[in-house]
């Protein structure tokens, strides 16, 4: 069953403050993601990979086309859905993990990680415990668990970013460069964690430059160039 079906998606940026400059971000995007599949998005920087993901997450408003998502309650077009439906989906089913940790200031690392969990489950202590276990798995030093992530190194921030996205077991995970600043050992751990999610039924759309990660993680690849899908390949 397809969890995601994208038809004829395009995104045109109209920048009024730059003298109405128009930039074509995406055009003619068609593809599907099956339930439980891990699809990799590759392409040079600027080719539209992040834009595509943001359109799916509704951070960007698509200019035309449709993004059909099979949620728990039926098929919904993410392009046309109203804000409240999107907020509900983001809370319960779809998680987006950006390339860099967007930090909410003055929140300790453990709470950043389990934030999504206790929005849904409401048991703070249990959520924190799970977060600690995950941070331990990822090799984050114990002293940093209650510190503010704003001061962490790139790799440390990345680990928190990934942990935050994975902990709540979403139905659809959109993840941007999960292993970018990580050392090989941690890379393996993250890959393992995402594969774990796949076993529990999560579908994943993953942007990556890293051949090592792509080889081990993805079932299928989509290559983007100048905003269009130019080839698809089985990993």
């Amino acid at each position: 069953m397809n969890i995601l079906e994208i038809n004829d998606l395009s995104k045109l940026f109209q920048l009024y403050i730059l003298n109405n400059k128009r930039i074509e971000g995406l055009k003619n995007i068609h593809f599907t993601v099956k339930e439980g599949e891990i699809v990799g998005l590759t392409g040079k920087s600027g080719s539209g990979k992040s834009s595509l993901m943001k359109c799916i997450y509704r951070t960007y408003l698509a200019s035309s086309g449709e993004i059909l998502y099979s949620s728990g309650a039926g098929v919904i077009d993410l392009v046309r859905a109203d804000d409240h439906a999107i907020i509900a989906l983001r809370k319960n089913e779809i998680t987006y993990c950006s390339q860099f940790l967007s930090v909410i200031p003055r929140v300790p690392a453990v709470d950043v990680v389990c934030e999504r969990l206790f929005r849904v489950e409401k048991d703070k202590d249990q959520a924190r415990q799970k977060a600690r276990e995950m941070l331990e798995d990822l090799g984050l030093p114990v002293e940093l668990w209650d510190a503010f992530p704003v001061t962490f190194s790139g790799g440390e921030q990345q680990r928190i970013n990934v942990a935050r996205a994975i902990i709540s077991r979403p139905r659809l995970l959109l993840i941007d460069e999960p292993t970018a600043s990580l050392d090989p050992r941690t890379k393996d751990i993250v890959i393992r964690m995402i594969l774990e999610l796949k076993k529990h039924g999560t579908s994943v759309l993953c942007i990556s430059h890293d051949e090592y990660t792509l080889e081990r993680l993805v079932d299928r690849r989509l290559h983007l160039q100048h905003g269009e899908i130019v080839e698809t390949a089985l990993a």
């Binding site: 940026f13 109209q14 920048l15 009024y16 403050i17 943001k54 509704r58 951070t59 960007y60 408003l61 309650a73 039926g74 919904i76 859905a81 109203d82 804000d83 409240h84 439906a85 999107i86 907020i87 509900a88 909410i104 200031p105 003055r106 206790f118 929005r119």
Partner: protein
């Protein structure tokens, strides 16, 4: 997916406030395209017009705009601080959402305000009575909701002050002896005293020192997570909006120019004015 449409907490349609004597052209001659709130023919001022939005339970809605955009007006109209010129609003917990709260009698409005709404103003003097102690201010809200037991009132007041990180030993001190940030926190404690489903926050951190601002915002975020209150946050500061809200409405010259998910407004603003605002983030 149409079932989602009926679960709203607050529904606002065509909310309008005009000062002066408008004629039939007034709304057509004012607004963001004209860069003006003032009608050239009648000199009436359109503070806000045609405001439509829904707020769902537990959601945080931000209203952002510059001076004269009408953002504070919207919230003041919904909190009955001012009379609306037109439009309707329905609140789910009141008459199951079937009765326009803007058309109710003064006494009913007062009941709605006391039981179902909380408001935090930019200036603590608007929200607090400086002649009473801080505990007395919270007591006022509790008494208005029908609590007449001094012991219970004091217990609830001290637990609220604890929650908003105001030292409980200052419960019997007057707010005039508090710092600005602490006054705001007493206001917040008072606003949530009756566990309202809806909380209005009108420029609550404007004018505060940065570190104090941070503390107040953190508190609001925590309260929102713990209590799940739906909030409307008015601010001209986009970083406050980014930190607190799920959805945002951008207003200019009294009209809504764009509304959408907060991250979408901040990363992919569609309207020219929104793009201007976002690019002006320091």
């Amino acid at each position: 997916m149409s079932g989602k449409n009926d679960n709203w907490l607050l529904r606002v349609r065509n909310l309008t406030k005009i000062y002066g004597e408008p004629d039939e052209n007034t709304l057509n001659l004012t607004g963001p395209e004209y860069h003006s709130n003032i009608c050239p023919a009648t000199e009436s001022i359109v503070a806000c017009a045609d405001i439509n939005f829904d707020l769902y339970p537990g959601e945080v809605l931000g209203i952002v705009g510059e001076s004269g955009s009408g953002k504070s007006t919207v919230v003041k109209l919904l909190h009955f601080d001012m009379e609306a010129t037109g439009g309707s609003a329905w609140l789910r917990p009141y008459a199951n959402g079937h009765s326009n709260i803007l058309g109710e009698s003064g006494q009913k409005k007062r009941t709605i305000r006391n039981h179902l709404m909380g408001m935090v103003y930019q200036n603590p003097r608007d929200g607090l009575n400086f002649k009473f102690s801080s505990g007395g201010n919270i007591a006022e809200k509790l008494i208005m909701a029908g609590n007449f037991h001094v012991g219970n009132i004091r217990n609830r007041a001290s637990s609220l002050l604890e929650k908003t990180e105001v030292p409980v030993r200052r419960m019997d001190d007057q707010p005039s002896s508090f710092s600005g940030g602490m006054q705001q926190r007493v206001q917040i404690a008072k606003a949530i005293a009756n566990n309202p489903p809806l909380l209005f926050l009108d420029e609550v951190t404007t004018g505060l020192d940065v570190s104090v601002q941070a503390k107040v915002l953190d508190l609001i975020r925590e309260l929102q997570q713990d209590l799940g209150i739906a909030m409307i946050v008015v601010s001209h500061d986009l970083s406050v909006i980014r930190m607190l809200t799920d959805r945002t409405i951008v207003m200019k010259n009294g009209r809504i120019v764009e509304s959408g998910l907060t991250d979408q407004i901040l990363q992919d603003p569609q309207h020219a004015y929104s793009q201007l605002l976002v690019s002006s983030l320091l």
